[in-house]
């Protein structure tokens, strides 16, 4: 425990702040029923468009649904977006980047062209275009993001592997006749993983921004699913009279994004990753 | 010392401490230096001995994590105490400095000509045409061929030796009275090193410019300097005329340093690396800092710091074993 206590004290402030924010959101996401005071989908025609008050700290919407409960319930979907939209790209990108960076050659040349091509398409536009093909919805959104997103991980991994490939200990392992699989997994992967892990945090923040944007446009999560972007879209027509329907879910997005960014910054500090 | 003329630069009890994450580091710990007009002083020592920090401290170029105390008197005025604005008027105008790595010391995106001209603009009344003429003159002076065409060139278009010449030209723009040269030849090939040293020597003679030459290469000092100060662990341990210090060192460290050099001053002696490492500077040192590595060390060396004392005319050293060095008298 002392080691943990020591690590905690040495940890960068941003890391601590990030952990606290994400932990709070994770509790909301894992057990919304325990914290949320109301059923997020329950209509209450006796309390329509109520401003924030003691029984409804975040107010209610045009159907009398409790905004606090809906914001908490949406955390489940949005954190799910953060993970599901990035995990596939992380794994695929890491593998491709590792192989391309280590073996180089034709595959690397092809990969280079692919990166050039992918960055030419505005990410959101490409994702929207793919969603247009597949049809709106969360799972199609994951596919659309994944089709493009892995490239960025692979690019990062490739650069890191290229540097490591020339390092003495890798050459030594080669001279000792270690099998390539062992060199790749034991010697290169652990050392190349740090920048990609830090980027993963940033990417989760981006995924939430992207996911809620698509939700807002009606291309991501579909109502009545409580998702922060969807909640904001629901409330936008009432913004002038009932700002709370929109403002609180939006604040949740900002908070969540900051949580991931701060955590990522702290991690970068801790792992000494340059960005 | 009495026969020497009034010094133009006099550094007294210079101390520099750096605040680091691992505590305070005493990089320079009580340095004294004196320089007469036109004098050439070599400042030698291993890396980390505080030579470069001393130079930068004199011109107050250190970062904000450094604390500098002591005095650095330039013609009687303390550089360390004067307002930034007055110091700025002296920098480049009276005291110039050149760095080890011209590639990083020159701005990569500004043409060489502009980098010379901005110095002239800061310190002279020349108009644009005059500055251009003078810049060509300066490049000529440091031996850069077809100077007029090279003015528009960028640092990366110059070879290593030419870059160092260009940096010297920039430093000399306002005809300073003192040049602080921080390892000016370390980053260069051996043949080019020699050219640059000869150039510096020639310029200091022609322009009557004093020079402090920081280096870890005793050969360079032997070739170029009249006087030498040897630094160890942030202190000057010995100072004197080069021919005296290199033939009859007064400090055990100088002696060891000379023996470790393939072509050191001591003729045909076997090459002997100095055992051990320099002391860590993040904790207070007791006695002479060289004691743990010293072949001549005796009881009091580790307990009591030896005073800086004359060993010969113009030569001083802080060593309890000064008189035993010549006789190779090592304690049992």
């Amino acid at each position: 425990m002392t080691a943990v206590a020591l690590a905690w004290r040495r940890a960068p402030v941003s890391l601590v702040a990030g952990v606290v924010i994400l932990a709070a959101l994770a509790v909301c996401a894992l057990a919304p029923g325990l914290i949320a005071p109301y059923d997020p989908l329950a209509f209450d025609y006796g309390a329509l468009l109520q401003p924030p008050s003691a029984p409804h700290p975040f107010g209610t919407d045009q159907f009398g649904r409790d905004i606090l409960s809906r914001t908490i319930a949406a955390a489940t979907v949005d954190l799910q977006i953060a993970i599901f939209a990035t995990l596939g790209p992380l794994v695929i990108g890491a593998i491709v980047g590792l192989l391309v960076g280590y073996y180089g050659g034709l595959a690397d040349a092809v990969f280079g062209r692919l990166v050039d091509l992918v960055v030419t398409f505005p990410f959101l536009v490409l994702v929207i275009a793919i969603v247009a093909v597949l049809g709106p919805g969360l799972s199609n959104m994951y596919i659309a993001i994944g089709v493009v997103g892995w490239v960025f991980y692979a690019r990062l991994m490739r650069a890191e592997v290229m540097v490591l490939r020339g390092q003495d200990y890798v050459s030594a392992a080669k001279v000792l006749g270690y099998p390539e699989r062992r060199i790749l997994l034991r010697h290169i992967l652990p050392n190349a993983a740090r920048p990609i892990l830090v980027y993963w945090m940033t990417d989760m923040a981006l995924a939430i921004l992207l996911g809620s944007s698509l939700g807002y446009l009606g291309l991501g999560a579909q109502p009545p699913t409580a998702e922060w972007g969807v909640l904001i879209a629901d409330g936008k027509n009432f913004f002038s009279q009932a700002w709370w329907i929109t403002v609180f879910p939006g604040a949740a997005i900002v908070l969540c994004g900051m949580g991931f960014s701060l955590f990522g910054d702290g991690l970068a500090d801790l792992m000494d990753v340059r960005r | 010392m009495t026969e020497r003329p009034q010094p133009i630069l006099e550094v007294r009890d210079l101390r520099v401490r750096f605040a680091t994450s691992r505590g305070e580091v005493r990089a320079v710990d009580g340095v004294n230096l004196a320089l007469a007009p036109g004098d050439t002083l070599g400042l030698v020592g291993e890396s980390g001995s505080g030579k470069s920090v001393t130079l930068r401290a004199i011109l107050r170029l250190l970062r904000s994590n450094a604390t500098t105390t002591g005095e650095a008197r330039w013609r009687g005025q303390d550089l360390l105490a004067m307002p930034e604005k007055r110091l700025r008027a002296l920098r480049g105008r009276e005291i110039a400095m050149i760095f080890q790595e011209p590639m990083s010391a020159l701005n990569p995106v500004i043409p060489i000509g502009v980098q010379i001209a901005e110095s002239l603009q800061a310190h002279t009344a020349l108009d644009a045409a005059g500055r251009r003429r003078r810049a060509i003159e300066l490049l000529d002076l440091v031996g850069i061929p077809s100077a007029a065409q090279r003015l528009a060139g960028y640092p990366h278009e110059f070879s290593g030796g030419m870059r160092q010449r260009a940096m010297i030209a920039i430093a000399l723009a306002a005809e300073p009275k003192l040049l602080l040269a921080d390892e000016p030849t370390t980053a260069l090939d051996v043949t080019i090193q020699d050219q640059i040293l000869k150039l510096l020597l020639r310029l200091s003679r022609e322009l009557g410019m004093a020079m402090v030459l920081v280096t870890h290469d005793l050969g360079v000092v032997a070739e170029t300097c009249e006087r030498v100060s040897v630094m160890y662990a942030g202190r000057v341990v010995e100072t004197g005329p080069v021919d005296r210090v290199f033939t009859a060192p007064g400090h055990a460290y100088t002696d060891a340093l000379l023996r470790s050099m393939p072509h050191g001053g001591v003729a045909r002696a076997p090459l002997r690396p100095i055992p051990g490492l320099p002391p860590r500077l993040d904790r207070p040192l007791q006695g002479c800092p060289f004691t743990p590595r010293c072949a001549y060390a005796e009881g009091r060396c580790g307990a009591e710091a030896p005073p800086f004392a004359p060993v010969a005319p113009g030569q001083e050293a802080a060593c309890w074993a000064s008189d035993r060095l010549a006789r190779r008298e090592v304690p049992a």
Binding site: T120, F121, P122, A129, L209 | R88, G92, F99, P111, H156
Partner: protein, 312 residues
Amino acid sequence: MSKAGLIAARLLQIVPTFLLIGVVVFVLARLLPGDPVSAMLGDRASDEAVNRLRQQMGLDRTIFEQFAIFLENAVRGDFGTSIAFRVPVTSVIAERLPVTLALTGLATLIALGLAVPLAFVAGLNANRWPDFLIRSVFQVGLSSPVFYVGLILLTVFAAWFRWFPVGGYGEGVADILWHLLLPAVTLALSFAAVIMRNLRASVLEVLNAEFVDFARAKGLSRRVILTRHVLRNALISTVTLVGLHAGSLLGGAVITESVFAVPGMGRLMVDSIFARDYPMIQALTLILAVVVSLAFLVTDLVQMALDPRVAR
């Protein structure tokens, strides 16, 4: 290679890039669910009409022939007829393109105007309170979704204070600016955050560079050092950054235009998806990618002009 050679090589690079963009968009269109003809004509079209259109679109040829026809049409600016507008796709986009370019251009100017001075203040005061303050504000900006910022600005400055129109586009420069200012500010905030973060880092890096020490040793004034030595070096990296973000800026424009009902390409894209206007989506994707690759090209050329080290 000489500078002229580099520029020529860079200009030639645009050809394969355009070709590959064409491939991607073509493949994307072929992946559409169902038959594009029935999508365009609806289920109740006569067989004769379907066949005629299939022939017209070249769907009865091989995939390579189809691609060649697609490319040929694209080069001529012919992307077919919009399902929603019933006019050539190109004529609709031609109206919308200047709107989006004006919006993103204005947003870039605002972002630079905000980020450059503040990055300097932050970098020069690194780890003191102005730095912390500026970084914290921009951190919030970086984590705020564009549509959320847009809605707040829209409500506060357009609906409550009535300083700006609630949406749409104007006539004449002043009116257009008045209409675009809020959307442009919305779009600029997160972009400014990205620029600020990077520029601050590069200001810090330059301040610690040895050439700044040498400049100080030369006796240059702080003003000269900052404007000539620090600003110039730090801005070179910013130019690259601005160019690299052309894509995310256009992506942001899609959302901003939707929030503020700005009649640009982004809003058109979203509308087209709900209208299943596939020819329009295809053309928009292609044109936006071409715009980005042109932005990359301009960035590289500007970088070559600014940074003497580029010519190797």
